[in-house]
Every structure is written in C-alpha cells, then in structure tokens.
Symmetry: C2
Subunit: 564 residues, 2 copies
C-alpha cells in the first residue's frame, strides 16, 4: 500500500461522524467498520477472510487495526451483528491488542466468540449480552440492535445514533417471511427508524447481482421432507456449524421421520450446545445419540449432522469421503445432503469430496437445484425493500466484491437516493458527515494482514512472492568455496536442486551443469574472484542460462559463496 | 499409479471389440477413447486438460499413450468429434509420436487442429475431411459421422461399426430444436442407428446432474436483443473463440442494430477466418472493421468480440480489465457481455476480471441469469432422449467427474438399460465385447502426463510434492565447510532462506539461528564430523527445531556440507 496517499485530515470543529470500512468492501470476508464521533469510536464486527490461492502458506487474513490504534483513547466498544467467521474471526487478534474493550452482541454471537477466544487463550473479556430491541450507549454513540433474518440465529442490524444523525448498518440479512423460528425481520422497527430519519445506511451486498427474492429457509424444509421420505439408509447432513436454523430443520425432520440424530465434530457440538442452552435450538433429548452409538440403530433410523460443506480437508465430511474418519464410515445406501453452496474458490474441493462420496456408494444431494440450501443473504428485491424502508440520505454498499457493491449502488439510485450520495467505497476510505455535508475525505491503512501458524502479520508480500516463484519452477542452489587470497575455487561448485528436475530421470544433468559452471568460473577475472558479489552474479547468470537452455525453466537460483 | 494392478489380458480368439477410455472418465478434460478390434485400432479424440491448483508449474495435462504405443501396428486413425481443446488439445503431442496416422473430422475441426499444429511446428499430417453423414472405413472398423448440436460448429457423434456390433459415441452434444444454423441434431439418423441395434453407447455426462432441458442457443439471441437495444455505448462480447454459433449471433445482432464488429486477438481472428471460409459463419464484409479503426465510429455503432471469458491472464478481456491492452481501452459507458460460464476452478479469476471491468466504469453482464449464455451440453431430458433413441445394450457414461458419470448411469437404468450393463469406468479400464459377453477385463496406464514449458512428461509427482512444500513454508539452506581430517568446521554455517521470513522485519533471526547451529555442531563427535550424512542430519534436525520453536513453520531444510 502506498502510504503517500494515506491522509486522514484533522477532524472538523463542529460535531461530526466518520464511517471507515476496514474490510469487506471489494472483497468477501473480514467485515469491519469503524464509526466515530468527536469523542467516541465503536467498531462494528471484526471478521476474517480465508486466503486465496496466491497467498501461499497463509492461514487467515485479518484487518489492519492502525486506524483504531491511532484513536485507541476513543475506542468504546465492539458491536457484533452476528457470529459468522467473517464478522467475528478477527476478534481474538483485536482483543489481544485492545483487551479492555467491551464486546456487545446477542447471546449466541457472544457464545461463538467465547468458543474462539478459549482456543486462542485470551484472558477475560467484558461481554455485553443484548437482545434485539436493546439499546447500548457508548458516549455520544447509541446503538440499537434490530432483529433481521440470516443463516445464523441472533443476527441483528444496528441503528447507531450519533450527534449528526443515525447510521443504519444492516449487517448480513435477508427478509424471510416464513423463517424457522417464526420471527420475520422486525419490519415495524426498521420502518420506524426510517421514519425518524437515517443519515446513512450501510447494507449487505452479497446477493446484489441476484434478481428477485431469496427463497425462505422454509423451502429447505420442503426439500428435507422429500429427501427424508425417500432415503432408505442413513442420512448425513453437512452444513456450516453456525447455521442454527438449518440444524433445527434437520432435527425437526429427524423427529418427524423417527430418526435419531448424532452431531459430529467439535464445532458442530459446540454450537448445538450453546444454541440449545440459549434457547435458539429446540432438540428433544431422546432424539440425540452419540456418534459411537449409531450402529445400535437401523440405517433408516439415523441422521448424522456434520461440518465440511466447503470441502475443508480436515472437516468431518471430507474425512468420511476418503475413509479417514474414525467414528463414521460411508457405506452404499447412505444419503449425503450438502446443505450449503461452495464459496467461490472452494468449488474444486467441494466437488472432489462429492466425487469421493459417490465412489463410496453414497447418494449425494447438493447444489441449489434440489433446494437443499438457500442463501442467507437478500437478493435485489429485499435490498430494494430495505432501501425503501430506511430511506437513507446517504448510502454505502458493503460486504461484497466491487461488482456487487456497484450493482447495489445502482439499486439505491433506483429507490431515489441521490447518485451523488452513493459511495462505493474501498477499504480504508474515510467518510465524514457533519450537519452540513457528507463526503469522502481521506484514506487510512486497510491492507491485508496475513496470519499464519507463526503469528500475526509477519508473512510479508516479499515472502509470498518468493513462495510463488518457488512453487512454479523450484530452486537451485550453488555452493562454492573460494580462497580469496589466491583467487581460486577450492571446493565446489556443488549443486543442490529442489523442485526443478525429476532426478531419477535426470541423473547426469547436475553433473553437466556443474561442468558448465566450472567453465564459467574459469572466465572470472582475479579481481572478480575476490568480490563475492561478482562471483554470485556469474554463478546466477551462468546457471540460469544453462538451466533455461535445457529445460526452459527459470528456477530461483541462489549462489552461496564461502570465503575460506 | 501402481503398475501391479495394470493387467490387460491377451485378446480372445473369437472376434472382439475393446473400448478403453484414456481420459475424460472421472474428470473434465483430456477426452480420449480407444476403440479396438482384432486387427485395427482407432482413437476417438485426443484432448488436453488444464492443471489444477495442486499441479505447481504444470502448463497442461495430456494422456498416457502407452496403450496405443504397445499396439501401434494396429493404429489406423484418429477420429475427431469436434474442435474443442478438451478433444483436440493433446493431438499435437500424439501426432509427434504417431505421425503417419490419418486424422478424420469435419472441416472446422481440421482447421482448428491445423492452427494448433502450426504453433507446434508439426510436419505434414494426413487430414481426412468428412461431412456429417459420411462414412470412413479403417480395416474392420467403419465410422459414420452423425450431426449433433454443440457449442462449436461441425460437431458430430460417431457410430463405429465393428465385427461384434455398433459402438455409438455421442461426443459432446445437446439437442437444440432451434439452433442458429437451422440444423437440429440428425434425429432420423440417430434413431435409424438405434433401430439397427447398438451394442454399446458412450455418452457425454457433463450436465448429467442438471434436471430438465438445456436452453436453446436461440435464447442467447433474445438476451442479445435486449442488451443491444439498451446499450448506449460500445458492446464487448467475450466468448470462447471456437463458439462459432455465439459469434454468429453477435454478428447478426451487430448487423440488425447497425453496429460494426471488430474481432480482437489471434485465436478469435483465426476461427472467424476458417469458419467463414468453410461456410460455418456468415458475416457481411462491410460489417467487419479492424480494431484500430473503431475510434472512427460512434460508440453506439461498435461491437468488439474477444476471448477471455475464463479470466485467462493473457486474454483480451483480462488485459482490457487492467488497462493493459494496446488496442482497446474500456471507458465508462461500455457494456461487456461475458457469454460463457466459469469452468470450475476459474471462478476467482473470472470475478476478478469482472470487478476490474466494473471499476473502469463498464456495465458487465454475466452469469446465466441474464441468459447471455447457455450450455453446449445436454441436460437430463436430452440424455434420456439420446438413450431412448439409441437403446444401447451396454452403456458407458463419459466426459465428466465421477458424480456426473454415476448420475448418468442411473439415468440409463431408468430408460431400461440392464444395471449390470452400465459401466461407470475409470480412465484406463479395458472393456471387452465379443458376440457372447461384454465386461471389464483389465486396466492400462492412464495417468496424468504433465506438460510444462520444458517438454512432455518430465515433471514427476516427486517434483510437484517439492514445489508444494516450498510454496507452503519456503526453504532454508545451511552451508558449512568441514575439514574432515581435523574434524572441525572451517567455514560457516552460513544460512540462506527463501520464502521463510520477511527479512527486513527479522534482521537478527538468521544470526540467532546461526549461533544455535554453531552450538549444535559443537556437540557432534569427532566421528560424526567425519561423516557427511551425520553432519547433515544434525544440521537438519537442529535447524528445523530452532525454526519451528520460533515460527511454527516447517520449511524445507537443506544442509550442504563441503569437505575442504
């Protein structure tokens, strides 16, 4: 990131509010938005993003907290809209740096954060459990949690009242008229907030390119009914662990079709435990059996719920698909329902899992055609409805790639938002509102922070570039010992290659390259031999040329010159 | 591949036919099937597959020709169903090994093969141009080319008559009742062949999981009509170069809406040239302009046809999207129609291209929702119709991942094929038919042959494993010079790392690791110091431990020990 362009002007003297998305604008994942007034600052969500193929060896990607760090004295709270990884996954890293910050959210969100924090061995965090309809005040910012529908229980939008007006953040949402928990989004409250006047709305853009209306969760129930009435053997349902409504539907169908349910895997068991305790999930105790006990029941009396809907290599479903699961083996006659769609980039691993399950004789039901999955994000009609209910003066599409944000911006204009008041932002853009104006006034740090097993933020771009080069053509090292006094080679050159040649078939090639290098070295002048960098340059060029002539490859060549 | 299991029994004394898929069963791409009798052998198609993410540095994947090689004396011809890469892309490699083999196909298929062969500098090949309805005989095998519909012109199915019965290979197909060229598949001929009796059918399984009927190419025309009547600026249409019907539709709409057409890129221009010459494409000469001339026309009078619908980095569309195209710059007001769907694995690059185009101000129309693309492969109703027309005794689903083949097998059973006569094969399975039986009798080599810039087949699995390890955690080399006589270190250890640390932030770490290694080396016994392998083992373990303690990473550690 070019820091020359990163300027955040001093705040105005008059009352103001700033909105700064630090992630989730122009990308799917690591959603995080700062809302700030003269004296106070709150953070809405703090998610993670999974790395793409180019991020070699990176485990997760989180946000750059610099903007918050520079204003840490104003930081009052983290407000969590819901408990999905792309909204809470960065929190353990955030809390490590800002441990005194209270975290407010609905009970399931907090339970999911607690489960993560335990893994990360965080200390005590001050949690503020709220219910939809509750208001919490942090200095000049008051936050109201508003019930909406999404593919996790306890999901909320936020109305943030500031001295210059209300900022409405939808979180992730859909409008489900027939949700499983019987609670459609709080239309009345949203409409009232709109009536009172909303300065700026930030809204979920994930499905902004999809015309029409996202199907109700109830539709999945109809698909389940059909699947459960046809399946003659065991049924395995794979979904995200956090998809509590989906788990409820599987359980309801198990009860209805007289099957027992076993929950497989720690994250699935955790969520079932929390959600039942908190009343989000209703499971008759006699329905649940341990996975070890399912063999005591006839095949047609068993349902297994597991994770792995994204083909994640270590998940329950992926392990089943390659007979690597200790407690469950797929047998012919099993029906596997993949109750999710692949996140872009995961298609290949999901299809690999499905192919393997088919080879073991399972019937696999997947994709949206069979309606065994519906999205948790509203399509165009719902986004338009939200715009018409809230009627904001300014509009910021969030949570999506650029194409989705741009399309959502066009939808806003269709509902009457002034095109000049629609801001399709990039991460780090600073939007400032006073009673007079609203405008983009600066830009802050919002680059990817890479986390790998070794800690936070120490896999730089240069290392990634190296790893990429290594993965393309391998590496070739040349080691040579030189007597600088006498300007002659006293040992080597020795060649070591990794990932360049398939050696059993290229036995002689290293010897040939070595001979060429010896010839190259003989051409180096006395002065050259005394300068390590000159020697290195000769080796690097000579070897790169020799390898390229033979193989057209361009491995990384590293000369190691030892002066003895 | 475990060659222990690779056994192909000697052929029977009585007349027989063998079917051996060498690619395309259990995967998308590199389609190739051997059909063999006692005295003769023909190859149906010879395609390529693009590498997946795990195949580091591999450019393309082709088939193992061992089975053909061992029977080269019987090889009579290559029969090409159509000119897509996954059916002809391996041919240049095949023809290099078997240069005297005639290649039979329709004129456009041959033109596309010729274009490829020119790039690969192949010598003279004997081409046998055929028209749908033509029959060609190669010893005991007679091949009839049968017109079907697909997303390239000149696509055919093949009826292969052998001494033991007819083998019907559908190629890739759909049944389009309203195709652009006015020629629906030759139902009458297919039905007649079915009436005469078909021993075994091999059929395209790409869309076997899709219920219903694939939409007609005509539907794309309706979408184009809507797009062309709304677009106020230039229109850019991206499709596969070989999708001649799609090009025809874009041209027809350009004519109708009074726009000029420019064709961008060599492969697009090649196909337009061949197809026009061969009569597959009808373009009024005054409609075509050079890309350099389009600025002479008003924006609303211009259409540009380009490749790049898969987000390929060097394609016309990808270059436009990052302002890297010399001859064409996207400006606000341009409409870009991506008239194709992403092949699984390409989603991320396609969406990246779309996002970039949106950022430049283009309106991008993509996906199947807008109906600007339809598949070239038949869905379930078409596969069922083909089965009912041909009524084969045996059935082999081909061209698809395992899940698609398995589903296609179930469809065959629904039309009355004996479940015992449905063979869901793996590549290399040998199916044998006599007048008495049909059965899987053996297995031959059918592994992936990797082609990279350096030639064919010399990127082994071991090299790929190395490249993968390198890409995860990088590499660390230790160079040390030892005086074996005196059993002491005389230079080093020197440490070189690549892709492990971000060095500007880890300045001291190499020094620390070096100090630890020095300590490790001091513990090595005199005997140990005299044995290079012992020294290497100490270095490898000591360094791996030290790095893992610090960073939790496990780079590849390569000790280089020089005896001076």
């Amino acid at each position: 990131m070019n820091s020359d362009t990163l300027i955040v002007p001093a705040p105005p003297a008059e009352p103001y509010a700033r909105i700064v998305p630090l992630g989730g604008c122009g990308e799917i994942g690591r959603n995080m938005t700062v809302v700030e007034t003269a004296d106070d600052l709150v953070v809405v969500d703090c998610g993670l993003m999974f790395p793409d193929d180019e991020m070699y060896g990176v485990d997760i990607v989180i946000n750059d907290f610099t903007y918050v760090r520079e204003r840490a004295h104003k930081l009052r709270a983290v407000l969590v809209t819901h408990g999905h990884e792309d909204h809470i996954g960065g929190l353990p890293y955030f809390m490590r740096e800002f441990p005194a910050t209270p975290v407010a959210g609905t009970p399931l969100s907090i339970a999911l954060i607690k489960a993560k924090s335990r893994e990360q061995k965080l200390g005590d965090v001050e949690y503020v459990p709220v219910q939809p309809g509750d208001r919490v005040a942090y200095g000049s910012i008051e936050a109201e949690f508003v019930h909406i529908n999404h593919s996790v229980a306890g999901a909320c939008a936020l109305a943030l009242r500031t001295p210059v007006g209300t900022i409405f953040h939808t979180g992730d949402f859909k409008f489900d008229q027939t949700p499983i928990d019987g609670k459609p989004a709080d239309f009345a409250r949203i409409a009232r907030i709109g009536d009172e006047g909303v300065l700026c709305m930030l809204s979920d853009s994930t499905n902004a390119e999809r015309p029409g209306h996202t199907l109700s969760e109830r539709i999945v129930g109809e698909a389940f009914t059909s699947i459960f009435s046809h399946a003659k053997g065991r049924i395995v349902v794979a979904s995200f662990a956090s998809n509590v409504p989906r788990i409820q539907q599987a359980v309801d169908h198990a009860v209805r079709f007289n099957r027992k349910v076993a929950f497989l895997g720690r994250s699935m068991q955790n969520v079932v435990h929390f959600s039942s305790e908190l009343g989000y999930l209703r499971i008759p105790p006699e329905t649940v059996v341990k996975i070890e006990e399912i063999d005591n029941y006839a095949a047609e009396r068993v349902v297994v719920m597991t994770t792995g809907s994204q083909g994640e290599p270590m998940s329950g479903l992926a392990r089943m698909s390659v007979r690597d699961h200790k407690k469950f083996r797929i047998v012919p006659g099993d029906t596997v329902v993949i109750s999710a769609t692949p996140i872009p980039g995961n298609e290949k691993s999901v299809y690999k899992t499905i192919n393997n399950l088919c080879k073991l004789g399972a019937t696999v039901i997947h994709g949206t055609d069979g309606r065994s999955h519906v999205s948790g994000h509203g399509s165009q009609e719902e986004l338009l409805l939200m715009l018409n209910l809230v009627r904001p003066e300014f509009f910021v599409p969030v949570h999506g790639e650029y194409r989705m944000l741009a399309q959502h911006g066009r939808l806003a204009v269709q509902t009457g938002v002034d095109p000049g008041n629609v801001f399709v932002l990039e991460n780090g853009d600073v939007l400032e509102f006073t009673r007079e104006y609203g405008d983009k006034i600066g830009k802050t740090y919002a680059g990817h922070v890479f986390v790998d097993r070794s800690g936070v933020g120490n896999v730089g771009e240069a290392v990634l570039r190296d790893r990429k080069a290594l993965s393309n053509d391998g590496i070739m090292m040349v080691v040579i010992a030189i007597d600088a006094e006498e300007a002659r080679v006293i040992a080597g050159p020795d060649l070591v290659s990794k990932g360049v040649f398939y050696l059993p078939e290229n036995d002689g090639v290293l010897d040939e390259l070595r001979a060429e290098l010896v010839a190259t070295m003989e051409e180096v002048s006395v002065e050259g031999m005394r300068d390590v960098n000159t020697v290195k340059e000769h080796i690097r060029n000579g070897l790169a040329r020799a390898i390229h002539n033979r193989t057209k490859r361009r491995p990384v060549v590293i000369p190691v010159v030892m002066e003895v």
